[in-house]
């Protein structure tokens, strides 16, 4: 259950950031969408909203919070599960609470405030979704948000970043049914994160060429994956020199989307924003390069079947 950021701006009187540091990673989030804006329903803006920050350490975002809940590293799932138990009026034993770094009072206060709010929203970052428990943590938070709807209006949203990653996710979904971790090696899309995700394919050495767009895996991926990228013909499209472009066989310099190339970027709430370039660039856009590669490939003799069965049953 989620919403567009305007809903938070207009209605949210109870906001939680969990495992994220928006003050430094999404610096406009507070001012444009969540805390500072006034609206018809929240005429006093910041004064009409309560913000709780949940993290394992103090960050700059703490300065903007009304309440800071410092939990022990790796205990997100436990905290979320205890919050759900409190919401349902179930007994939680003291030793379970003590392990989390929080007190029963703090957690009961969290639930009381959430239930009393008119519109609550939880934003969660990689501190929740990429630490011990991973997608189980996200699922626990989303379940808590869903269950709070029995008492009030409640939504949740991941704090996505890294440029237009949401756009890639959205388009892969409409073209293949899946957001990422897709293989086409049988001629149709199949999905298995952990097997077909880029990092897994590279670490296993399953790919014999790579085309990298809008990413710098050479800076972020584990060493065996980087080593494999250096071994195979890697082509990078990027406006700048990056860690990946240095190890690639080919680096095609492209214009910068939003500055010198037009297009669409999908915001973290999946709202498509048009990009209107302010400057001209001598370099081609990513789109043009890919189109020309496609045209060149089309001139070669075709490796794909011309005909054959229209559909297959999957195994």
């Amino acid at each position: 259950m989620t919403c567009t950021l305007g809903e938070v701006k207009n209605r949210a009187d109870f906001i939680v950031y969990w495992g994220g540091n928006p003050a430094e990673c999404h610096p406009r989030h507070f001012t444009k969408y969540t805390l500072m804006q006034k609206s018809k329903f929240l005429p006093r803006g910041r004064k009409d909203r309560t913000m709780i920050l949940v993290d394992i350490r103090e960050t700059k975002s703490g300065g903007a919070a009304d309440i800071f809940l410092q939990i022990r590293p790796g205990k997100d799932f436990e905290v979320l599960t205890i919050l759900r138990a409190i919401l349902k009026g179930q007994h939680v034993n003291e030793s379970s609470i003590a392990e989390t770094g929080l007190t029963l009072e703090q957690m009961t206060d969290f639930i009381d405030r959430a239930k009393k709010s008119r519109f609550g929203c939880m934003f969660f970052g990689m501190g929740l979704s990429m630490t011990r428990g991973k997608h189980m943590n996200s699922a626990a938070l989303l379940t808590l948000a869903a269950e709070l709807n029995a008492f009030t209006k409640f939504v949740a949203m991941p704090m996505r970043g890294h440029g237009n990653v949401t756009g890639a996710d959205v388009i892969m979904r409409w073209q293949t049914g899946f957001p990422f971790g897709i293989t086409f090696n049988r001629g149709y899309p199949r999905y298995n994160p952990g097997e077909f995700s880029t990092v897994d394919v590279l670490v296993r050495g399953d790919t014999d060429a790579a085309l990298i767009l809008g990413a710098d895996p050479g800076a972020t991926m584990p060493q065996p994956a980087i080593d494999h990228l250096a071994r195979i013909p890697t082509i990078v499209l990027d406006p700048k020199v990056t860690h990946t472009s240095r190890l690639a066989r080919v680096h095609i310099t492209t214009s910068v989307a939003g500055i010198s190339a037009p297009g669409t970027a999908y915001r973290m709430d999946e709202i498509p924003l048009p990009l209107k370039p302010a400057l001209k660039s001598p370099y081609p856009t990513d789109e043009e390069v890919v189109r020309r590669i496609n045209e060149a490939v089309a001139r070669k003799s075709h490796w794909m079947p011309a005909d054959g069965p229209m559909t297959v049953l999957q195994h």
Binding site: Y191, L273, P274
Partner: protein
């Protein structure tokens, strides 16, 4: 140039009922004669105009959310393999875009109407529509819970409201207006609903769902949109909601309206235990009031995923089923909810829903006013339409299917007493000629001279579902796209849009309000014309 010879023509738009005639095609249209070119020998075959779906959900934020939520279905469904002429994809409950085009065209449907688009994400919807090959498309924009519009209704400022609606339609590059649970979705922003026409709406003082429905219907008639208000009534899916539906129909007397997925709005009883079919009451009223059209929203047993802008209903469905729940509220405009669902013949409510869809199709006597739909993917996936056609054309098959229902279910429905069987002519009406006329697309749903050459050719076959699942040929705009069960060409389709007139000063009124409630700049909000692929602007009409 193509000549199709020897086929039996079913062309309700021109009153042709099974006569053998030749069809000539040139420049993508039907013409009176051609010399040379290809000849397709259709001797002994049945020829229909290409199918038109008046109400489906195939593109945009909500169906794409549904795709993300159902990877387990993608894994078990039919897969489309990449070849030189076609892209890969997946069928199933929420097919991918390329597969959507292949599946619709493979069944003989050539025009679809995407029935629910928030303006804020209309750019996304157009990008997806572009990636649906072969089909021509139109889309409807969600207006009945737009808070800027509701504020104007509350203030009684009708003239300005009219300009605002017209501005939004053009901003979205849309074809018409969809109204979903008027007022109820706005109330859902606070976790509430508005079920009856006279209910108050959370956050408002004077307006009710009835005010919104009446106001919007009048605006749409005065703007002269080619398709009337496309209404998803309040109180969807609830036992006893027949009274809300009948009240809504009475309110719309003297106005044009299309009532969407009527099956979900024709239930009697007081609660889930006493629920019964009320299709007879609805059909009786509908038959005598010719200002309205409708589509069935029929249900078939099996797995699907329900998606609707009706957020509060989806929250209830989540609580009833305990299955996955997706909800996406859109600032100022609308909501959206997604819940995977399985319709079972052992379930009383599901059995009644299955029967009601068919009963309405059989009890509403004018096939020009009720159209085949499943509210894809809500009642069933669109690629199951041939099963519904078989149910409509064969009383014996219906009786056989009814043996699967429980005895209690059989007492709560009227289907066992209805022996009507659809003719091919009537099937061509409810699948093509009727919906094309309701959409105001005069060049669709017709095999007459000058119409778009969208044709389906079926090999006559005793097994009705098989015949309608596997046409021998499908032509789109005069091009053979399906032949002998294979995709031969995947041309890009057009998008129909309208540009209703509005006072340009409305932007001065809208801009400050817009900046209050939205989080994107006013200048970036309207979809640019160049982002709509092969757009065709249709004229407004004199109502």
């Amino acid at each position: 140039m193509i000549r199709i010879t020897g086929g039996k023509i079913y062309d309700p738009a021109n009153g042709i009922n099974g006569q053998v005639r030749d069809l000539c095609i040139d420049g993508g249209k039907f013409v009176s004669s051609v010399i040379g070119g290809r000849t397709i020998d259709a001797t002994g075959m049945i020829i229909f105009p290409g199918g038109v779906d008046v109400h489906t959900h195939v593109a945009g934020g909500s169906i794409n959310f549904a795709r993300a939520m159902t990877p387990e279905d993608h894994r078990r469904t039919t897969a489309f393999i990449r070849t030189q002429s076609r892209r890969s994809g997946l069928g199933g409950m929420a097919p991918t875009t390329f597969a959507t085009g292949y599946l619709y065209a493979g069944m003989g449907w050539t025009t679809v109407n995407e029935a629910a688009v928030p303006v804020l994400s209309a750019r996304h919807t157009h990008e997806e529509l572009h990636d649906i090959p072969i089909l021509d498309k139109s889309s409807l924009v969600l207006m009945a819970n737009n808070e800027i519009l509701l504020d104007l209704f509350e203030a009684g400022d009708f003239e300005r409201a009219k300009d605002v609606v017209a501005w939004y339609i053009w901003a979205a590059k849309s074809y018409g207006v969809k109204a979903v649970n008027p007022g109820g979705v706005a109330a859902w922003k606070w976790g509430k609903d508005a079920k009856q026409l006279t209910d108050p709406i959370e956050g408002y003082n004077t307006i009710t769902p009835g005010t919104i429905i009446g106001g919007l219907a009048q605006i749409i008639d005065e703007l002269g949109l080619p398709h009337p208000m496309h209404l998803h009534c309040n109180n969807l899916g609830a036992p006893g909601n027949v009274w809300t539906t009948l009240e809504t129909m009475k309110l719309l007397e003297g106005r044009r309206a299309h009532i969407a997925h009527l099956q979900y709005h024709a239930y009697g009883g007081d609660d889930w235990d006493t629920m019964r079919s009320a299709s007879a009451e609805v059909a009786e009223y509908f038959n005598t009031h010719t200002n309205m059209t409708t589509d069935a929203g029929a249900v078939l047993f099996g797995d699907t995923v329900t998606i609707t802008a009706d957020g509060p209903w989806q929250h209830l469905l989540y609580k009833l089923t305990g299955r996955k729940w997706g909800n996406l509220d859109v600032e100022n405009e609308t909501g959206c909810g997604i819940v995977p669902y399985t319709y079972r013949p052992s379930n009383l409510v599901n059995s009644i829903q299955w029967a009601v869809g068919l009963e309405l199709l059989l009890l509403i006597n004018d096939p020009w006013r009720i159209f085949l739909s499943t509210d894809h993917p809500n009642g069933a996936c669109f690629w199951r339409y041939p099963e519904i056609i078989q149910l409509l054309m064969s009383f014996d098959f219906r009786k056989e299917c009814m043996t699967k229902l429980t005895p209690i279910a059989r007492e709560r429905i009227t289907l066992p007493d209805i022996d009507r069987e659809y003719t091919l002519y009537e099937i061509a009406t409810i699948t093509s000629a009727g919906p094309a006329r309701a959409l105001g697309l005069s060049q669709k749903g017709s095999l007459g001279i000058g119409a778009d050459a969208d044709v389906v050719i079926y090999e006559e076959e005793k097994d009705i579902a098989k015949m309608f699942s596997h046409p021998r040929y499908v032509l789109k705009g005069g091009e053979v796209v399906i032949e002998d069960g294979d995709i031969r060409a995947t041309p890009e389709g057009r998008e129909f849009i309208v540009k209703p007139s509005f006072n340009p000063d409305i932007e001065n009124f809208l801009k400050p309000k817009f900046e209050d409630v939205y989080t994107m700049s006013f200048e970036n909000y309207p979809v640019e014309m160049e982002r709509v692929s092969h757009a065709e602007i249709r004229d407004c009409i004199d109502t």
